[in-house]
């Protein structure tokens, strides 16, 4: 059995490489900076978890959370929203399961992922 899939939606190179470094061994990670593309990937890949940066191209992170959680196919996928804005309430209200305020430590990310995926 292959590694579980994890999607990352961000245009931030730093966040992308941090996720690959922290979780690359345990997950099959795919990344995109395009919100509409992320939606398609979520529907076709059925990932174990999605990490979404709030500022992303075409669709923003809040809209993405709302759409993913409103869709029967994707609503069970856990979402971690990431931002350095004071956006925790907005993110959780939109449907994110966890809000990670950046900058954060790798350990915080790994713990959040483990908690949400039980992996």
């Amino acid at each position: 059995m292959g590694k579980p899939k994890l999607l990352v939606g961000t245009a931030d190179e730093h966040l992308r490489s941090l996720v690959f470094k922290a979780l690359g061994e345990r997950f099959n990670i795919e990344a995109t900076d395009d919100g509409t593309h992320l939606l398609e990937m979520a529907r076709s890949h059925h990932p174990a978890l999605i990490i979404i940066d709030l500022f992303i191209r075409k669709l923003d992170g809040l809209q993405l959370c709302y759409i993913l959680k409103s869709n029967g196919e994707t609503k069970s996928i856990p979402i971690i929203a990431v931002s350095n804005l004071l956006a925790k309430d907005h993110a959780l209200q939109a449907g994110a399961n966890f809000f990670l305020s950046s900058p954060f430590k790798t350990k915080q990310l790994v713990e959040a992922v483990e908690k949400l995926t039980r992996l």
Binding site: E13, D33, F55, L59, G61, L85
Partner: protein, 495 residues
């Protein structure tokens, strides 16, 4: 929440100020000013997503050491950018969220530290949350305004197009010459679509070719040309009898299994010229770089124009057909008159040549008459490209195709000498350039063959069965007159 309600005064002030205009800059400036009064920050910057949500635009700022407008691509963090500009001062970001959409962010750099900081940021968030729906409505208003502008422009353009189409339709319906019609259309399509690249092509089913009769490439008028039917998207449009609009010419060719022709275009639009279910040709426009140079509206406009063109082409062809028939009757009448009124062989042959030249598109013409021995063919009238050449005599067996007509008493039609070379009854006599189209009909009185009339053209497919029948009718009239003139000449000689 602050216990002292007087801390909410800035919010109260903001509620009075915001939402009174339709000017984004004005509304954002009001927000920034009230935030400054409430939080006394080092700097405030408001970044908003652009329309395509590809960039974040710095719309309004106070306290930052820049004077120009700024655009950050999504992925470059505005908060980090402001912090960096201020040498690492404590900086916070408040999202601008309305109806679940992230519109942008307000970045605040403040000298205040805990415990006051939390209360201050809470107030900032409340103020931004109040402003967010106002900003969303403004954005929607701007989008609506753009939509209305776009629709108005579309309607104006459609109206102009209809006027132009009507004018073109009226003009071409009165044109009875195919060439003039094509030229006029070529110029007028330019005024409708402004294409740098345009072709008007006619389908030639008899030769299975497509003939490009008007060709504009990169804005320059070029010579027309022909290509085999089946190649290129024009052939597809003619075969499918329906318009085609594509943003990628080569990809479309691959998809449809069509061999591309010419320099590959990017966007391509072609419409069939159709009359009574038959395709007469195709009008196409293309762009070498832009993938979306043409719209559905352009397609509809061009298709409508092609329908008008089809009617005009039909009219022109009917007129040309009627004109041709009138010319043919006139020729037969004039030849009838000449044959009945002259016994002068030279005069008779000259009249035949002149009248035939008026009706047939000929490069070369000759009348060959058998001599009394029956072994030689005398050519008393031979003309090439409008010039009479000296008469000559050839042995019958070396007289090529004309000799074959005399020997067999049968007519012969060759549409393309080069292509039909292997199936010809005899090898043609080559005196110079080989005519591609060739007709020879015998001059016969009852079963006796006197000679041959031959017309030729250097362009293949210049003649068809109709031309053959018509020349046979001429030959029937001419044969009796020629025989009479020869007998008269002989009698005159004996006397």
């Amino acid at each position: 929440m602050p216990e002292d309600l007087s801390a909410l005064k800035p919010l109260y002030s903001l509620m009075f100020r915001m939402g009174s205009t339709l000017d984004l800059q004005h509304e954002l400036s009001a927000l920034v000013e009230e935030l400054r009064k409430a939080l006394s920050p080092f700097a405030i910057a408001v970044f908003m997503y652009d329309d395509q949500r590809e960039n974040l635009l710095l719309e309004v700022q106070e306290g930052l050491p820049i004077s120009h407008k700024l655009e950050l691509p999504v992925g470059k963090d505005p908060l980090e950018w402001v912090r960096h500009k201020l040498g690492g001062m404590p900086t916070f970001g408040i999202p601008i969220v309305a109806e679940g959409q992230l519109l942008g962010s307000v970045i605040i750099s403040t000298p205040i530290s805990e415990p006051q900081l939390s209360a201050q940021l809470w107030l900032g968030q409340v103020m931004v949350n109040y402003a967010a729906p106002v900003l969303l409505n403004l954005r929607r208003y701007k989008e609506l305004e753009k939509l209305v502008e776009r629709r108005t422009e579309e309607l104006r353009r459609r109206n102009e197009l209809l006027k132009t189409l009507n004018r073109i339709g009226q003009t071409i319906s009165s044109m009875l010459n195919e060439n003039e019609l094509i030229e006029y259309l070529g110029r007028e399509i330019g005024s409708l679509l402004d294409p740098s690249n345009l072709s008007i092509s006619l389908y030639r089913p008899e030769t299975q070719e497509v003939e490009v009769v008007f060709y504009l490439d990169d804005g320059l008028r070029q010579e027309g040309f022909k290509f085999p039917f089946g190649k290129g998207l024009m052939s597809y449009v003619i075969k499918a009898k329906k318009p085609l609009l594509t943003s990628d010419y080569l990809l479309e060719c691959r998809k449809l299994g069509v061999e591309p022709i010419g320099k590959p275009a990017r966007s391509w639009l072609g419409v069939p010229i159709m009359s009574k279910g038959e395709v007469l040709g195709c009008i196409s426009v293309w762009h070498y770089i832009k993938p979306d140079a043409f719209s559905q509206m352009d397609l509809e406009m061009l298709f409508s124009l092609a329908s008008q063109t089809a009617i005009a082409l039909e009219n022109a062809r009917l007129y040309e057909d009627a004109h041709r028939k009138a010319m043919e009757f006139s020729m037969l009448y004039e030849i009838g008159l000449a044959t009945a009124s002259t016994l002068d062989l030279e005069k008779l042959l000259t009249t035949l040549y002149e009248e035939i030249s008026k009706v047939f598109n000929i490069s070369t013409f000759y009348i060959g008459l058998l001599d009394e021995s029956g072994r030689n063919v005398h050519l008393p009238l031979l003309a090439d490209k409008g010039k009479r050449l000296p008469s000559m005599t050839l042995p019958l067996k070396e007289a090529g195709l004309g000799g074959w007509v005399i020997k067999t008493g049968q007519s012969l039609l060759i549409r393309d000498t080069l292509k039909e070379m292997d199936s010809l009854p005899v090898k043609p006599v080559q005196l110079g350039e080989i005519p591609h189209a060739w007709i020879g009909v015998p001059l016969k009185i009852r079963r006796q063959v006197l000679g041959v009339i031959s017309i030729q053209n250097y362009a293949p497919h210049s003649f068809n069965e109709h031309h053959l029948k018509l020349l046979e009718a001429v030959a029937n009239q001419a044969a009796i007159a020629i025989e009479n003139a020869r007998l008269f000449k002989k009698l005159k000689g004996e006397a």
